[in-house]
Amino acid sequence: MINLENISFTYKNKLALDNVNVHINEGEAIAIIGPNGSGKSTFLKLLNAIIFPSEGKYTFNELEINEKHLKDNKNLKLFHKRLGFVFQNSDTQLFCSTVFEEIAFGLIQMELPIEEVNERVNDCLMLLNIEKLKEEHPYNLSGGEKKRVAIASVLAMNPDVITLDEPMNGIDPKGKSFLKDLLAVLNKSGKTIICATHDFEYIDGIFKRAIVFSEEHKIIRDNTYENIIKDKEFLRQYNII
């Protein structure tokens, strides 16, 4: 499904990703682990084609994702429909006047019948347990509520892959465990989950695989989540715990 071959990304003469090679199959649940500044967020931005690699090849469903391919508006929209991104800072993701409009934003653009839009929005509100916030302005919500709205707005578009950048940041323990269950259920329903995180306490049981980035912006380990998380010495050596 997703294939990254010898990907490097340089920003202002600084290497942010160094020779990254990853293959992700449909339905996987992968944790992206690494210390601060190791390139986790850059990796997710690259997957979502917010930035493009300086070197290497990125393919999604056998199609090479590059500026040329996405210059065609149709390709760009289809790509973003299939791959959803939950930003680390939910504030930057919410720009509509009510929670309902926020979740319906993508659906209205997809020109779905109004009944289906309403159905999907209500389902997402229920799934994220935010029905009460339907008519609220997203800016007046708490950090955890904003995160739920941001996730709902992505889920409503029914993407095949959901990428999340530090979704547990700024959320209370109850919210974290809710999010953990939600991610596990989404993965079970067939969604591919790729999530950058270092909140290990609350992600047990979601991920089957983990990819570890080092401070040198390289992938140093790609293994089962269990194996990596149990290897405390390795995690300590690379400043992860």
Partner: protein
């Protein structure tokens, strides 16, 4: 728990739409921010000169250029600014040159009728003054950090609090700019179909930005209060001169002497 539609794949094919406004907005934001944030601590000669000296000499030279009536002096200043331009990084050099040409050329076009009435000398003098002044200001903006330029204003008896407000303003232009880029990215990622009201989402982003800036300013004022800020702020000017600074002073003194000499000799 999971609704049926979420576990099935959508058979969605987006419609063709030529709409590049998000791309263009992202690009223009990134361009502006990268100019403010660009690395101005290079090894190149001009970047190493004391910023206070650069600010003083630029203002002084601009004052002399505006009062000069000598073509010879302006020609010398032309050589001086183009020499400085050659000392800049290749990328900045090209950008400064192209930007500095726009307004002088517009002025020159506006002066054409005056030239037809025989006012050629004065018109060319004006054209020269405009181009040199703009290049000098652009050079200063490109080879000196914004914070250092604002600190240098203390030399002109500008109150510290004003300098500080300028510093904070520049910092927040960058912060809010980066925030808007993220908002535009989020908008692009969710723009998966046909938008009937293309600019509505931009209005949402602007509104969001206003609320964010209000909250940020409120939080900053509270943080300042907690750190003991009572309304007084002191900036210090760095006047430690290096060898290169003395060289710069000599060149600028020579330019001033040239101005005085040409003025009193009446050389045009």
């Amino acid at each position: 728990m999971i609704p049926k539609w979420l576990s099935e794949k959508d058979n969605y094919i987006p419609k063709e739409e030529k709409n590049l406004y998000i791309e263009k907005s992202i690009f223009s934001f990134i361009k502006t921010i990268s100019i403010i944030r660009q690395n101005k601590s290079q090894d190149k000669l001009l970047y190493l000169i004391n910023p206070n000296l650069k600010v003083i000499s630029t203002i002084l030279n601009i004052a002399l250029i505006s009062i000069s009536r000598s073509f010879a002096y302006l020609l010398i200043m032309d050589i001086y600014v183009f020499g400085n331009l050659m000392l800049m990084q290749k990328k900045s050099r090209k950008r400064i040159f192209i930007r500095s040409l726009i307004f002088p050329i517009i002025s020159l076009i506006a002066l054409i009728p005056s030239m037809f009435y025989g006012n050629v000398y004065n018109s060319l003098l004006l054209f020269q003054k405009i181009i040199i002044t703009i290049i000098m200001m652009n050079l200063l903006a490109h080879n000196t950090k914004w914070s250092e330029i604002s600190k240098s204003l203390k030399l002109f008896q500008i109150p510290d609090i004003f300098i500080w407000i300028m510093d904070i303003t520049i910092k927040y232009i960058v912060l809010l700019g980066e925030y808007s880029i993220d908002l535009l990215y989020a908008l692009r990622l969710r723009s998966v179909g046909k938008t009937s009201s293309k600019y509505d989402s931009i209005t949402g982003i602007i509104g969001n930005l206003f609320i964010k800036s209000y909250k940020m300013s409120e939080e900053m004022s509270q943080a300042m209060e907690c750190r003991g800020f009572t309304g007084e702020y002191t900036t210090k000017v760095n006047f430690n001169l290096k060898k290169i600074d003395y060289g710069y002073i000599i060149v600028n003194l020579l330019l001033i002497v040239t101005f005085i000499y040409l003025k009193y000799q009446g050389i045009f």
